[in-house]
């Protein structure tokens, strides 16, 4: 038992150690300030935050309806929401192309013909790809959080004279806020690390759609040191996310 467990722990720890060992610490600032790295950093930051916002704006009402209303087809909607969780990201990208592609996507053609807007090969396309794979993480967390708020809190608040809008925002969502916060952080982290759907749907154009993970993959060929430097940035962010969520997943100090 202990032996197998140790192998398991090593299996996770070793690659991380390897990465830290290979990181060009002396030249890391130079590596990170190369134009490829900088544009990928800023693009990733912007698109992942935008995707998290999309997940929040559309995911929260969805989570509310799933948690608070019983309607025919609810289970189907719920199952549908979880599909991007298990879908291979490349397939997610192909599905997005099928609907939002400029030439043969149903919606994509309309967008281009009517508004001259093109999602593929654009930062907006990156946001679409990231939001598609990241939103379920938020919706599921938010749904569980909202469903976990005792309905009698709403009823007490109503009988005390609170308007329904206040009951929703000031009581239920307020009480569910730890789950909402955790959900949005996980969704954002997922968007930041998104690779497959992005490269399939939005492409790999430096400065426009080449996010951090894409830049790492590309630099591995031409400039491995740069790839390691960027990977360290991604790991640092991942650890920061874990710290932000501590207690929730690490079960530690509360």
């Amino acid at each position: 038992m202990i032996l197998l467990g140790s192998i398991g722990a090593l299996f996770i720890a070793l690659p991380l150690t390897g990465l830290i060992a290979r990181t060009p610490w002396s030249s890391i600032t130079d590596q990170l300030s190369s134009s490829t790295a900088l544009s990928a950093l800023w693009l990733s930051l912007g698109t992942s935050l935008a995707s998290a916002m999309v997940a929040l704006v559309f995911g929260l009402p969805l989570a509310w309806v799933l948690a608070r209303h019983r309607f025919p087809g609810r289970r189907i909607v719920r199952a549908l929401v979880t599909v991007p969780l298990v879908l291979p990201p490349v397939v997610a990208g192909v599905s997005l192309l099928a609907i939002f592609g400029r030439n043969d996507g149903l919606v994509g053609r309309i967008l281009f013909d009517w508004f001259g807007a093109q999602l593929t090969f654009s930062p907006l396309g990156v946001v679409v790809a990231q939001a598609f794979v990241a939103m379920p993480f938020f919706v599921l967390a938010a749904e569980a959080g909202i469903a976990g708020v005792d309905r009698r809190f709403e009823e007490v608040a109503l009988t005390l004279g609170a308007r329904p809008r206040f009951v929703m925002f000031g009581v239920v969502l307020r009480l569910a806020s730890p789950a909402l916060r955790a959900g949005i952080i996980v969704a954002w982290a997922r968007a930041l690390g998104e690779f497959g759907a992005t490269i399939t749907f939005a492409g790999n154009v430096e400065g426009r759609t080449q996010t951090l993970p894409l830049a790492v993959y590309m630099l591995l060929e031409s400039d491995p040191e740069g790839a390691f430097a960027l990977s360290i940035v991604l790991i640092a962010i991942a650890i920061a996310v874990l710290v932000a969520l501590r207690g929730r997943y690490l079960g530690g100090a509360r």
Partner: protein
């Protein structure tokens, strides 16, 4: 103040036929578990509507489906207490008590002293700044009562308020209710299984019962 409910309510395929009239008195609602006692309270609070009939409080109609009239729970001035105190965990004790006043637009300079005053009347003024998760069951239930009564409700509904309390705080809370209720000229309905509650607090009983194959009744 007179509370009058005559009519039928439905929850899924459960039907409850109500015909009650309660003056300024404390009335026990008795009956077996799951027979519809809580449903009766929810109708009065406006959390559940009638399908036929009418609910009236004093001269004002609360619910009348045939004329399409329905007063929302937030406009009924009905106090509702559950078995659990259900204090809002994100607010401290005094802010819980001030909640109803603030939601009615009462300014903070008035709401806070009023909340403190209410806490004082229930003997828990010293808890004012405490977090609610540090209170005992009996303390929490007193704070819940202070919160419900500070807005001067027109009806008080208590759904098994003693069930989660231990014996000694049960007795204390019962005495406190008796004292507080004595000066209130409003209908008070209390769901309970306890004969001592009934004999020490209530003037009479409303019985909720269900016979095989018939809708449940509250009389």
């Amino acid at each position: 103040m007179n509370l009058q409910v005559q009519g039928v309510t439905r929850v899924g395929d459960f039907t409850l036929d109500i015909d009650i009239e309660v003056g300024s008195e404390t009335v026990a609602i008795v009956g077996d578990n799951g027979v519809g006692k809580t449903t009766l309270l929810r109708v009065v609070a406006g959390l559940q509507s009638l399908v036929t009939g009418q609910a009236k409080l004093g001269e004002s109609v609360l619910d009348n489906p045939s004329s399409g009239l329905f007063v929302d729970p937030q406009d009924r001035d009905v106090a509702l207490l559950f078995q659990d105190a259900l204090l809002f965990p994100h607010l401290n004790v005094v802010d819980n008590v001030a909640f109803g006043l603030r939601r009615r637009g009462v300014e903070d300079s008035v709401a806070r002293p009023a909340a403190l005053d209410s806490l004082g009347r229930f003997g828990v003024l010293d808890l004012a700044e405490r977090r609610v998760d540090t209170l005992s069951g009996g303390q929490a239930q007193r704070v819940a009562l202070a919160r419900a009564l500070v807005v001067q409700p027109r009806v008080i509904l208590l759904d098994e308020p003693f069930t989660s309390l231990d014996r000694s705080s049960r007795h204390e809370f019962r005495m406190m209710l008796a004292t507080q209720f004595a000066g209130l000229e409003i209908p008070r309905l209390i769901v309970t299984h306890d004969d001592i509650d009934i004999s020490s607090l209530c003037t009479r009983e409303i019985v909720v019962r269900r016979e095989q194959g018939k809708p449940a009744t509250a009389r």
